[in-house]
């Protein structure tokens, strides 16, 4: 069979889309997560519902939204509410199945730093900060992270807990009383990390042509491989066609 070419962004979008289920309500950001949701809706999850922290529910954007508050998210959506309502009635109340998170650093237990590199009061690099992520990470039923796999992005410990994964592992997360299940997968260009029973991120799947050693070399802790670690299926023709022709023809994110 003829090999299908794809780039690393396409690989990450396709694998993230496959994690979404039909009827999921997804708290979504712009860029790669937005593409993953739209791809899932056009393939196996036609009843997926996208909601945005700007207060838009059931968005059906006619173009690729370029910011979290793009006007195309509103036109044709099922509902628009205030920011206070989106964070209380939807997220805090438990009406969000999936949240997408991102950050400069993700650690061994899925904690995320999107706030600062170095000391908080005397920042070496000042990052954007939490936005909605502190609450999404705590209260969405499941969280997914999509990020390139680089050692500087995967330290053993984050400099700052902008949002929590499993803290120090074990029952540390559940003892805080947060309602959500925490990060369930980190999709990278090398594979997919998932938490083990202790909350530690382990290599659960590996992309075609990637070795375990590649993943270890780009991870800042002694990476474990799950017993059932499988290769991922490469993106198929239909997934790539939808991405390239329908969702991002201008190749802004892919």
């Amino acid at each position: 069979m003829e090999a299908i070419n794809y780039n690393q962004q396409e690989l990450m979008v396709v694998n993230a889309a496959r994690l979404l289920k039909d009827h999921d309500t997804v708290f979504v950001g712009v860029g790669i997560p937005n593409l993953a949701c739209n791809l899932a809706m056009r393939t196996h999850a036609p009843n997926l519902q996208m909601i945005y922290e700007a207060g838009v529910i059931g968005a059906q954007p006619s173009r690729l939204p370029l910011s979290i508050g793009d006007p195309s998210l509103v036109t044709g959506s099922t509902s628009v509410c205030s920011m206070y309502d989106i964070f209380t009635l939807y997220l805090q109340r438990g009406n969000v199945d999936v949240g997408f998170l991102g950050g400069a650093q993700i650690d061994q237990f899925g904690n995320i730093n999107a706030t600062v590199i170095g000391d908080y009061q005397n920042p070496k690099v000042r990052l954007p900060g939490s936005g909605g992520s502190m609450e999404i990470a705590a209260w969405a039923n499941r969280c997914y992270i999509i990020t390139p796999h680089q050692k500087r992005r995967f330290p053993a410990r984050v400099d700052f807990h902008t949002s929590i994964g499993f803290l120090t592992g074990g029952n540390a997360r559940t003892s805080t009383g947060v309602r959500g299940g925490g990060p369930q997968a980190v999709v990278t260009n090398l594979g997919i990390l998932k938490p083990d029973e202790n909350g530690e991120l382990v290599l659960a799947a590996i992309h075609p042509g990637v070795n375990f050693e590649d993943a270890q070399a780009n991870t800042g802790w002694a990476l474990k491989k799950s017993a059932d670690c499988q290769p991922t299926s490469p993106p198929d023709r239909e997934e790539l066609r939808i991405l390239r022709e329908e969702l991002d023809p201008g190749r802004i994110y892919i």
């Binding site: 207060g55 838009v56 910011s67 979290i68 205030s82 920011m83 009061q121 936005g131 705590a138 805080t176």
Partner: protein, 300 residues
């Protein structure tokens, strides 16, 4: 009594050096024209609060208006970093007070509701609370569970841009609603800017769409295209090209100064700014038309 006045008069009358200002709008309806007017009038030592400071506060910080910012996400939305604000913080030249979006908005909710604090469920993320003493923890008196609380935010002045208002300040808003309503109710004074000033009968034809009532509004200013380069739903699109351009402009203090000289100090008001943008930009930002179905309120 009409509250209608020019934006420069409203800014002069209601804003003072050192004030806590909330220019509202979550990516939508951001009152850039008011920010530019504040820069032109040379206000100093302002405390600038916004969930997303956006380009409007990056420009005000670069122009030397601010002593401190209060925020929950400091980025150029969809583009990257707010370079001037980030440089000011990393250089130790700007104080800051930081929240998550939800706790920032909860502060406004407390301020707008006249409550001493707002409770929130814990998030397990302690590091920000350790840096910001406004985060406190209480015990739920009913269940004994931990509850996080934040105090009210009561700005001296909120600036709120809307699609249409009457001369009393009753305002219709649609599209992304952000924190507009909370900012208006939380603040001591409200400057309302509107794309259109309409007859009171237009407001009364659709009272469910009135998010901000005239009773909390001090000044009503007719400022079409106030929100450029952000947008006003149904009136004009977001100017993403400018958001990208600002990423370049804001790389150096010199190029920012050139921008401010040309587009803020060198301009008298928003009408002149919009004209200077030119017909190509106007064309590019046209919103098109997608009308909602009318509803029947009943003839009672």
């Amino acid at each position: 009594m009409t509250k209608l006045c020019a934006l420069h008069e409203a800014v002069t009358r209601f804003i003072s050096d050192g004030n806590l200002i909330y220019a509202s709008g979550f990516t939508h309806l951001i009152p850039f024209a008011a920010g530019h007017e504040i820069i032109r009038q040379g206000f100093k030592d302002l405390v600038l609060a916004r969930a997303t400071p956006d380009l409007i506060y990056d420009q005000m910080v670069a122009a030397g208006c601010a002593r401190k910012i209060i925020f929950s996400y400091m980025g150029n939305p969809g583009v990257g970093s707010l370079r001037r604000m980030r440089a000011a913080i990393e250089g130790g030249k700007l104080d800051w007070e930081e929240y998550s979006h939800f706790s920032m908005i909860s502060r406004l909710q407390a301020g707008a509701s006249g409550l001493p604090f707002m409770p929130m469920n814990p998030t397990g993320a302690q590091d920000l609370a350790e840096q910001n003493p406004n985060y406190r923890q209480l015990q739920d008196p009913y269940t004994g569970a931990d509850v996080v609380v934040v105090p009210p935010l009561i700005p001296d002045v909120a600036i709120v841009h809307v699609q249409r208002a009457d001369v009393n300040g009753n305002a219709h808003v649609w599209g992304i609603l952000g924190e507009q309503r909370l900012a208006a109710f939380a603040s001591q004074h409200v400057i309302l800017t509107a794309e259109e000033i309409v007859d009171e009968a237009v407001i009364r034809s659709d009272p469910n769409r009135t998010l901000i009532p005239g009773m909390v509004v001090d000044a009503v200013c007719h400022v079409p295209f106030c929100a450029h380069p952000s947008y006003t739903q149904g009136y004009h699109d977001r100017d993403n090209e400018f958001y990208l351009a600002w990423d370049e402009i804001s790389k150096t203090e010199e190029s920012v100064q050139d921008y401010l000289d040309e587009w803020v100090y060198g301009i008298s008001d928003r009408a002149a700014y919009w004209e200077k943008l030119g017909p190509k930009v106007h064309q590019r930002l046209q919103a098109g038309e997608r009308l909602s179905e009318p509803v029947n309120y009943g003839d009672y």
